[in-house]
């Protein structure tokens, strides 16, 4: 079954909906130390599966969700995930991202992907100044948020009772 669903391209990337083949690279990321900032317990493959199925389910339930990031000319190889999503218990919608593949570090690809997904959230979903939740120790994501023009919002609520989370808020008008 193939679905007619939003996907779009930037200069270098295609952003598309999650597919079953993305489970393997997602699971490799989830089981590695790189996922320490986005989970609250020790990783297991079963948890990875459930988290990914949940992200896919959001597309069905809400008509939007996280996009898988791929190189434009290699659409089968998932590099990470970025997008507007609104999971249970979040006080407001979030623009979140995870970078699975270390090979794209330092290439500006994460910036290009998040910028595009944010543009989608503003233009298509009519979102107004969404947040991004980032662990205080996650320096790479903090740098990315700041490069995107997001600023700390110390008064915003977040859903993580047991984690040291910073709330970044995206600008009213996109640069």
């Amino acid at each position: 079954m193939s679905f007619d669903f939003p996907s779009f391209s930037t200069d270098r990337l295609t952003l598309r909906v999650p597919q079953a083949q993305d489970l393997a690279p997602w699971t490799a990321f989830f089981m590695s130390e790189r996922s320490q900032y986005i989970r609250e317990t020790e990783p297991t493959e079963a948890l990875a599966w459930r988290a990914f199925a949940h992200a896919a389910g959001m597309w069905m339930l809400r008509g939007y969700g996280s996009f898988v990031i791929t190189h434009k000319d290699v659409p089968d190889t998932a590099l990470g995930m970025v997008g507007p999503w609104f999971p249970v218990g979040w006080p407001e919608p979030e623009l979140g991202w995870t970078i699975w593949n270390t090979s794209i570090e330092g290439t500006g690809i994460a910036f290009e992907a998040v910028q595009a997904a944010r543009r989608y959230a503003y233009d298509v979903l009519a979102w107004d100044q969404p947040v991004s939740y980032i662990a205080r120790d996650n320096t790479r994501s903090i740098k990315l948020a700041e490069r995107l023009g997001a600023t700390l919002d110390p008064s915003a609520q977040h859903p993580f009772a047991h984690k040291d989370i910073l709330v970044y808020r995206h600008p009213k008008v996109l640069p």
Partner: protein, 194 residues
């Protein structure tokens, strides 16, 4: 209503509608069995937090129940089959769900059924699960379906038997604590196992 339960409007609502238009619907004598949507969530929540919740991996809190729902729905995306809602054709009321999925660690596709209390005892689960079973075998050509349930759940066992499932004692010994029944397509076509 909690914000994450409010259906989208505008373009994302169109995306959802377009997606559902591409998915199958099954009609039986009394029921419409169709892919679950966000608006069905309160029924799921009621069942998972009701007296049968303990049979379904519970007790469930808000977050756990919702995540489980979203994961079951996500199977439509990842697998091409997933969580079905059971709708009364006449009233359009959602009476429960047939969970058709293939979860992590499971060797084959699984069929499960869950109903609100007032819909129990009327053959609803059997009627809906039979339609999904036939869809799985005749359209998807799945080679088998496994049914897992709590052995204390006599209603589920009765449905399993009415569907023509047979108990897999060897697997039960390994699984420690779950009743495991298996369905396979019959050479005689649909009627042979109704």
């Amino acid at each position: 209503m909690k914000p994450w339960l409010v259906p989208s409007n505008g373009i994302p609502a169109d995306v959802t509608a377009k997606l559902h238009a591409q998915l199958p619907q099954l009609e039986t004598a009394r029921l419409l069995v169709r892919p679950a949507r966000l608006v069905d969530y309160p029924v799921w929540d009621e069942i998972m937090k009701g007296p049968n919740g303990v049979f379904l991996g519970g007790p469930w809190d808000d977050r756990g129940a919702y995540l489980d729902f979203a994961q079951c729905v996500g199977s439509w995306f990842l697998r091409g089959f997933g969580l079905w809602a059971i709708e009364n054709q006449q009233s359009s009321k959602v009476l429960g769900f047939v969970a058709h999925g293939h979860e992590y660690g499971c060797l084959e596709a699984e069929l499960g059924f869950l109903l609100i209390e007032t819909a129990q005892g009327r053959g609803i689960a059997t009627e809906a699960a039979r339609a999904v079973r036939d869809y799985a075998f005749n359209v998807l050509k799945q080679p088998s379906l496994v049914l897992y349930f709590d052995p204390r759940n006599g209603a589920s066992r009765a449905v399993a038997l009415k569907l023509g499932a047979t108990q897999d004692l060897a697997a039960e010994t390994q699984a420690k604590g779950a009743a495991i029944y298996r369905l396979v397509p019959s050479d005689g076509g649909m009627e042979a196992y109704t």
